[in-house]
């Protein structure tokens, strides 16, 4: 109860029940599944909480993360490229790849400091 797993599970199960009710009432499995899957995130969280309760210990955190920003810009450019043209997809993907490597180095540095 303290970890909150019960609340997340309750909410997720409510959606599964509502989805089952919808599927039975309407005779449409698809819409019932659409509703029931909405609870999967909460159920996954409940599982995480139950299996790995949070530990109160110091965490090393970044104050800045420039590669995160560059990654977002690269992915957005690549997405826009889907309509603007392949050239922008490629530029965006390149930027995103560069940012991913940068981010990996940043995270590796973080782990070394632990």
């Amino acid at each position: 109860m303290k970890s909150g797993a019960a609340f997340a599970a309750f909410w997720g199960l409510l959606l599964v029940i509502l989805g089952t009710g919808l599927a039975v009432w309407s005779g449409e499995l698809g819409v019932g599944l659409l509703l029931a899957q909405g609870g999967l995130g909460a159920l996954a969280l409940a599982l995480l909480q139950a299996r790995r309760p949070p530990q109160s210990r110091p965490r090393l955190l970044p104050s800045l993360s420039l590669p995160t920003v560059v990654l977002a810009l690269g992915l957005a450019a690549a997405a826009l490229g889907l309509t603007a043209g392949l050239w922008l997809v490629l530029i965006g993907a390149e930027v995103a790849l560069f940012a991913l490597v940068w981010l990996a180095r940043e995270i590796a540095a973080e782990r070394r400091l632990r």
Partner: protein, 552 residues
């Protein structure tokens, strides 16, 4: 700098213990441009989201003013039909995808860690990534105005087949689709960080049933975000594929399938724009009634049930399609009145017997409670299929959702902004200007949106730039009201600027708040708490401490 990232050590503060460790090595160059752009501090990320959403709000509000000017008189037609289509589409899209949803999440991102005694958020990089994704999405949507065919013009719902490439050709609509996907993806990621923070980083002693009401509202809000937002991202991907390749929604039943997928996001998002403000209003009501929030556990249960039910009502937007199980969705829609009633009872009961202080945050909270009631009650009307058949796609529906989202949610947001502004900035907002903006907004909102119920019942269709001359008077009244709203917003913005330039220092706890954010400095330090936290024995630990210190 290791790998380009200065590091700080964040810990959850424990009650009665030494303060968290300071940043080591020294914190980021906070006041530099990079410090703002790339800071992973949840408060900075939230401030960035808040600032961006404010800009999108103003832009989308200006579009509404142009629309209301066009509708002020029948036959005016100073803009083309296509331009009008773009205006209402971008107004709705801007307000929903780019303003209210992100603003609600920004409020949570800023104050949830403070309320639960956490030094940081879970996955701060993810929140930062979410902000930039959202911002890129918003700019992409708006950039459609600079393309040959103009911006997206199929409403904020982009219903198929209207939104396929045959009926809405051009790159502007593509940009709308991509922008919506990016913006919603950004909001989803921000929601994930808030949810994980609530579950993983609570201070010792802060059990789930000791979470402040606002934090609980963010728990259920982020449940909905995680449950429904991915569907919209996928749907926008499918729509883009449909526009360029086809074969997804073009077959038999494709339009209904699209509506199911869209509204599975589209209705819960209305509640994502509602529950955080219920939580904010509840904090304000308790603080300014000088009472503990009434019926806490009933409220928690009602929030859980309300949000689960609200995931199951999406197809009440589709009653008139004839392609959905109307009885089921009408029943679930009506059932929402039960948990909503519990929340209203709790809010009112908190005030009864309290010492009510009518400061600006409380006025906005009361405005939210009263005006949202009109939105809620008219929601029951449109939840009834026989009546919905009459008012579907009319101004009645426009009036209904503007009472919920503007007269309700925006007032709730402003209650929260006026309440927490001193905490976030260290400066008090001016009471006189706050009350002036409140009354202007009350007047403007009701003059603008109440006539829409009559217009809708009289048959005025939404999303059309012209109408029958007999509807002219009420439309003129509504347009005048829109001008008053603009004035109210202007006064609010002036209030913010004046209060930041000529600061009246707030102190740590100007309102005698009840929750942990008022136990730290204003504005809070990088890792939120530098002093030991008070003992956490309930959802109102500062009220507990105050009562314990009072002479018997």
């Amino acid at each position: 700098m290791a790998g380009g990232a200065p590091w700080g050590r964040g810990v959850s503060a424990e009650p009665g213990t030494a303060p968290p460790l300071p940043a080591a090595p020294p914190a980021a160059p906070a006041e530099t441009a990079i410090g703002w752009i790339a800071s992973t501090d949840h408060k900075r990320t939230a401030a960035k989201i808040g600032a961006a959403s404010l800009v999108f709000f103003i832009a989308s509000g200006v579009l509404a003013l142009v629309m209301r000017t066009e509708l002020a008189h029948p036959g005016l037609q100073f803009i083309s039909d296509q331009t009008y289509n773009e205006l209402f589409s971008m107004h709705g899209s801007g307000m929903i995808y780019l303003f209210l949803t992100p603003a609600a999440l920004a409020l949570g991102l800023y104050f949830v860690p403070l309320q639960i005694g956490a030094a940081e958020i879970a996955l701060p990089r993810l929140a930062l990534f979410g902000f930039w994704t959202y911002l890129c999405g918003g700019l992409t949507m708006y950039a459609g105005f600079f393309t040959n065919n103009g911006a997206g013009s199929d409403g904020w719902t982009a219903a198929v087949p209207l939104s396929n490439s045959a009926f809405t050709p051009g790159i502007g609509m593509d940009m709308w689709v991509i922008g919506a996907a990016l913006a919603v993806l950004g909001s989803l990621l921000i929601g994930v960080t808030i949810l994980l923070t609530l579950f993983r980083l609570r201070a010792p002693g802060m059990t789930m049933l000791r979470l402040p009401v606002f934090s609980w509202s963010m728990v259920v809000t982020t449940f909905m975000v995680v449950g429904s937002f991915p569907v919209l991202v996928v749907t926008m991907g499918l729509l883009l594929y449909e526009r360029h390749v086809g074969g997804i929604f073009s077959g038999s039943g494709g339009a209904i399938a699209f509506q199911h997928l869209f509204w599975f996001y589209g209705h819960p998002v209305v509640y994502v724009m509602f529950f955080p403000f219920v939580g904010a209003v509840a904090e304000v009501v308790a603080t300014f009634s000088r009472r503990r929030f009434f019926g806490y556990k009933a409220l928690v249960l009602s929030l859980l049930v309300f949000t689960a039910l609200s995931m199951a009502v999406w197809a009440h937007h589709m009653f008139t399609t004839g392609g959905v199980q109307n009885q089921y969705f009408s029943l679930t829609s009506h059932l929402l009145a039960v948990p909503a009633g519990i929340e209203y009872l709790d809010l009112i009961a908190t005030m009864i017997g309290g010492t009510i202080l009518l400061r600006t945050p409380m006025l906005f909270a009361l405005g939210f409670i009263l005006q949202f009631l009109i939105g809620g009650l008219t929601g029951i009307v449109v939840a009834s299929p026989p009546i919905d058949y009459h008012v579907h796609d009319t101004f009645f529906v426009v009036g209904h959702f503007h009472y919920t989202l503007f007269a309700g949610s925006l007032f709730g947001l402003l209650a929260g902004v006026h309440y927490w502004f001193p905490k976030a900035t260290g400066a008090m907002l001016r009471e006189g200007l706050g009350k002036l903006s409140f009354w202007l907004l009350v007047l403007g909102a009701n003059v603008t949106f109440f006539p829409m119920f009559f217009l809708g019942f009289d048959g005025m269709q939404r999303r059309v730039p012209d109408y029958a001359p007999r509807l002219g008077d009420l439309n003129l009244l509504s347009s005048i009201g829109a001008g008053v709203i603009a004035l109210g917003i202007l006064v609010f913005l002036i209030n913010v600027v004046v209060s930041l330039r000529r600061r009246v220092l707030a102190g740590d706890d100007p309102w005698q708040g009840q929750t942990l954010e008022w136990a730290t400095s204003s504005p809070p330090p990088r890792h939120n708490f530098q002093r030991p936290l008070p003992p956490i024995d309930s959802h109102a630990p500062l009220l507990d401490r105050r009562l314990a210190e009072e002479p018997a």
